[in-house]
């Protein structure tokens, strides 16, 4: 990060905005309890409240993974050649 003569890329890039959204989305979904505090529709007999939150374990995992991949690409582009 020291001897790069070229212009530094901007701090806020579309990729970084997507990363931020990926990390922020679970907070909105989970803290808005009113949106999922109900019994129907059930899934194999399990009330919505429970299977929805467990589904979000998978969704948030996918989102964090996306953020991770994007961040890796972002860092590689920035430190290209120095590593």
């Amino acid at each position: 990060m020291s001897d790069a003569p070229e212009v530094r890329p901007p701090v806020v890039t579309p990729a970084r905005v997507v990363i931020a959204l990926c990390l922020f989305a679970p907070f909105v979904a989970m803290l808005w309890v009113g949106s999922y505090a109900k019994v129907d529709p059930t899934f194999i007999g399990i009330p919505f409240f429970y299977w929805y939150q467990m589904l979000w374990v998978l969704i948030s995992t996918a989102l964090t993974m996306t953020a991770y991949k994007l961040w890796q690409r972002d860092q590689r582009a920035r430190h290209g050649g120095t590593k």
Binding site: F27, A37, K38, S60
Partner: protein, 536 residues
Amino acid sequence: MNDGVNGVALAVFILFFLAVTVMGFLAARWRKAENEHSLDEWGLGGRSFGTWVTWFLLGGDLYTAYTFVAVPAAIYAAGAAGFFAVPYTILVYPLIFTFLPRLWSVSHKHGYVTTSDFVRGRFGSKGLSLAVAVTGILATMPYIALQLVGIQAVLDVMGVGGGENTNWFVKDLPLLIAFGVLAAYTYSSGLRAPALIAFVKDTLIYIVIAVAIIYIPIKLGGFDDVFGAASEKYTAAKAGGLVPLEAGQWTYATLALGSALALFMYPHSITATLSSRSREVIRRNTTILPLYSLMLGLLALLGFMAIAAGVKVTNPQLAIPQLFEDMFPSWFAGVAFAAIGIGALVPAAIMSIAAANLFTRNIYKDFIKPDATPAQETKVSKLVSLLVKVGALVFVLTMDKTVAINFQLLGGIWILQTFPALVGGLFTRWFHRWALLAGWAVGMIYGTVAAYGVASPTQKHFGGSAKEIPGIGEIGYIGLTAFVLNVVVTVVLTFALKAAKVPDGVDETSPEDYTADAGDPGVQVELPPATAGKTQ
């Protein structure tokens, strides 16, 4: 409820227990480094763990035996409100994705072993670092005690030393043996012991959950019947329900958020994090650790199954072990009990190591013996890890179980108050050290007083962790309210102290330290593992 000793289950339990004991002692030779008399070796496993070891270690560390017993127990007793553990563990990972890699980098660059080390280095304040260290130790002690409560629950159900009328020595002997063994191999092998045992623990847990979540509902006639029975029970008892009511939703959300913020303030979480080999290992782990959350969700559902299966226990903590005993053939019940028992040993070992590291680095070395050598540090840490465990044992044996639970509840509120100094410090040096200290103190006092004032049907004080939020009027998690107060005080005082030009201490870190990775100049590269293969 105990109809004698369950011989087969006990035999299986003892078999597994012996196996992990042997592993615990052998662990000292696993990936042994040349210089074993340093705190990096004993207390952080040589900072050498790769993605999978870290995954098992963190999983074994965060999802403790007590979690396995307490989460379904809460569902069993109160229904939906107990499920907040799932959103809580969902929120943890995007959160740590943002700050843990920075902590890893700065800690590697400067050789920090604890969070207090970082706080001292960042803010140049021994007082603030002491506050963080003491909070960490105080919050960890009851947590270790609760692991013992977890083992006790299993032993109770197996019929070993159970009944209240047996003589205290016979009653507590199995627990004393378990803890003696745990203390001995933690002393000799350090963090390597729980890291190795975590493999066994998690494999067992995954097998037990997978079997339980398929086998038990089939026996009970499907999820429809399970939830039907649960719903009837809550309606009859006029307590709890299948979904949180409007009034309980604030509590649900604030508990999830507050607990998620607090989790990685605990010393044992940080110890497991810092033992990893690189930044990448941590980021990668945030994408695979949620597998444990899924397991926790399934496990929570066992609480409903216990109701449907007609498990009747006065102490909800016994609901799940009792469900296993009723539902499974004896030998598999033994496997399930072993999973819970070993599940207690892993976090107990890591917690005692973490607390010992805090004492050694931030109390012993900072205040008692500044010129301690690495070998002396290791020796003190080993001894303190023993002391911490003995303390937890005395706590559990002499006091009522509810005391440990109350303190654990307080511990969660307290540890959250170190968030501004630690996470704030990772991103900015703007906060003033005295403002952080004042904010911490306000948060600690408010949290303690508020928790003291919560009554429940069975207790006059410390009856729960939720209370009306001043100014909003909804019922919310006390820890989170205290945290908000803490931040407000910190910000206001920072403005004031900066305006008054009060000296702000020396920052020994520089901006690029926070993004350094293994292999960069100045980052300590670990001694290569001499034995055992690579782990990727």
